[in-house]
């Protein structure tokens, strides 16, 4: 190796650059030979934000595969990660936790990082599909900075399997020009669907929320698996079905073009529609409903484990996370990130609803996800 204390000559630098461009030497060799690597280490040491953890100290490979939800990231952050760590992030988008679970159970998913919701994590642990996290590789994760409500589902029997990404709620999006005002109860939602909003209401193609909110209509728990209470929900859903506009979790297009007036809606979708069309509002059901928290986790089968840690650590850096939040409109549980967000966003009633509106909401439970009776109820509802 060259003497690292001696500066490289201009001609030698260009030679090395050409060799690197032609691909005859590796990126690592190039950085070492030219002294750029050392320079970056020194600068990185002085300005930690410049470096994604120990990324440059080890070989991360050239790609990392992320399985996540739609409209849930700032694409520019992945470009920056590519520039800084030399790792290309490949994004796969999914529609439900069940779908992610099915892909991981089937094996050969090729994912390095995925984004399970609170109630799914214990099932992954039970099925031995998820990696206990080595927190020494996640220097940007500071448990003290996180609101515990949105972080504790990641820890199972004292082992940390997942670190918090974002949280949110499942409420009601309404087009106030058509509904004549705010719709903030599941009673109005389901009764209106059969009356003044006939043919204009959408429910999720997702058993957890569609059955859950039908249960809440009767004052039952969002997570109920009690056969008598599920029978109530089934009766309501089958009665409402002929009056629905659609059963679909892709509700933004129909809400935006005015075909649908009312839909079950996740926080970020509500925020995105409200920003573009102020007449579309978002409210939480007064009777209750769902509050949830998404996490970053690494599957046991991850082919690029080191790159997976590097990506999660990068995305947890407060300045990166703040850019993410600005792009997708989901609230963050990390106080360090919130300190960087504009005041207007933190006061936004869609993103950060008042505490008394959140108190009747329930976190989904593991059994709510895996209960076979709820799955069959949904199938009967869809084929009715």
């Amino acid at each position: 190796m060259t003497d690292k204390t001696k500066p490289i000559t201009r001609q030698k630098f260009i030679e090395e650059l050409r060799r690197y461009e032609k691909g005859s030497i590796s990126r690592r060799h190039f950085l070492e030979a030219t002294g750029l690597g050392t320079a970056m280490m020194v600068m990185g040491g002085a300005m930690p934000g410049l470096m994604p953890g120990r990324a440059h100290a080890q070989d991360l490979g050239d790609r990392v595969v992320l399985a996540t939800w739609p409209n849930y990231h700032d694409a520019a952050n992945f470009d920056r990660f590519k520039d800084e760590a030399g790792v290309l992030t490949q994004v796969n988008v999914f529609g439900s936790n069940e779908e992610m679970l099915a892909k991981l159970q089937a094996g050969g998913s090729g994912w390095d990082v995925f984004v399970p919701t609170n109630y799914a994590i214990s099932t992954y642990v039970e099925a031995d599909l998820i990696e206990p996290l080595d927190l020494s590789k996640l220097s940007n994760y500071d448990p003290a900075a996180f609101d515990q409500r949105f972080a504790d589902a990641g820890t199972i029997n004292g082992t940390v399997y997942a670190v918090p990404k974002n949280w949110g709620t499942t409420g009601i999006a309404f087009n106030s020009n058509k509904t004549g005002g705010i719709v903030d109860s599941w009673k109005t939602f389901f009764d209106g669907a059969r009356d003044q909003f006939d043919g204009r209401v959408m429910v999720h193609d997702y058993q957890l929320t569609t059955i859950g909110n039908a249960l809440v209509y009767f004052g039952h728990s969002f997570n109920s698996v009690d056969p008598a209470e599920l029978a109530d929900a089934e009766k309501l859903l089958i009665d409402v079905k002929p009056h629905l506009f659609a059963i679909s979790s892709d509700y933004q297009p129909s809400m935006r073009n005015g075909d649908a007036w009312l839909t079950m809606c996740w926080t970020g979708d509500g925020k995105q529609m409200n920003s573009d069309m102020p007449e579309i509002g978002f409210a939480l059901g007064r009777e209750g409903g769902e509050i949830w928290s998404d996490y970053y986790a690494i599957p046991k089968s991850a082919p690029h484990r080191e790159a997976a840690y590097a990506l999660v650590n990068y995305l947890l850096a407060p300045e990166v996370n703040a850019r993410e939040a600005l792009a997708h409109g989901y609230p963050v549980a990390d106080a360090r990130t919130n300190a960087l967000l504009p005041e207007a966003l933190l006061k936004d009633p869609i993103l950060y609803p008042a505490a008394e509106l959140l108190s009747p909401l329930e976190f989904g439970a593991a059994v709510t996800l895996t209960d076979p009776n709820r799955a069959e109820l949904m199938a009967r509802f869809k084929s009715a």
């Binding site: 099932t123 059963i247 129909s254 075909d259 799955a375 199938a379």
Partner: protein
Amino acid sequence: MAMTQSRARALLLAPAGLWYVTLLVFPLAVVLIFSFGERNPIGGYAPGFTLEQYANLPSRFAAFRNTLTLAPLGTLAALIIAYPLAYYLALRVSPRWKTTLLILVIVPFWTSILIRSYAWIYLLGGNGIPALLEALGIDSIRLINTPFAVLVGIVYGYLPLMVFPIYVALDKLDKSLLDAASDLGTPPWRSFVQITLPLSMPGVLTGSMLVFILLTGEFLIPAILGGGKVFFVGNALVDLFLQSRNWAFGSAVAVALIVIMLIVVALYARAIRRFGASRDDVGIM
């Protein structure tokens, strides 16, 4: 000599044989084995031997009913629209335009069916055709998320698969037969019924089979244009494998679908053959 010939035959058949075993026989065997198993408590497949999954098939009756009404209906609609088009392309259009028009039939295949179905959401949605009809004084009607919308999507998506086999059959038609019939004073409608139609039957059969078989497995078009309210067996399968993750029951539904399809296709092929045989007296087939 005989040795080399049989070895050559074995070599020639090897790729196809390998293809069949790995991509057809093996997956089918897996599905069959899974269909006698059980659902793992957290989802997936657990080994076992039970007929429980088959006993549970009636719970998906509506999905089978929808598939087995909309698939034949869609095939018939595609046939009715495709036949005149194929007839025109094969027998009426000038050779100068033929290639261009044939390419135009394939052009939609250059874009994914997903994207083209999304386009139909806007065409059939409230701001599309219904708004146009309203402007013309026809009361607003709901088109999107109805069985009609699914039928439109099906015909649109599968039309080229129906046009081409019929076109090929008509294109090969010996025109001198039509001239002879005309010379002997046969009116055009009769020579169509007695000559053109029977001779194009292989194309009709191929096109209908192709469209019908693909339609029985369809799930994308009902999901997108039916708004989740028009439920096919394909949708039931997607839900069983990806949502409730009941692979055992999903496999039983798949086996039932394959069996029903084989029976329907066999009956259909026999009916068509009978139709051909009854024309034998004309001395053409």
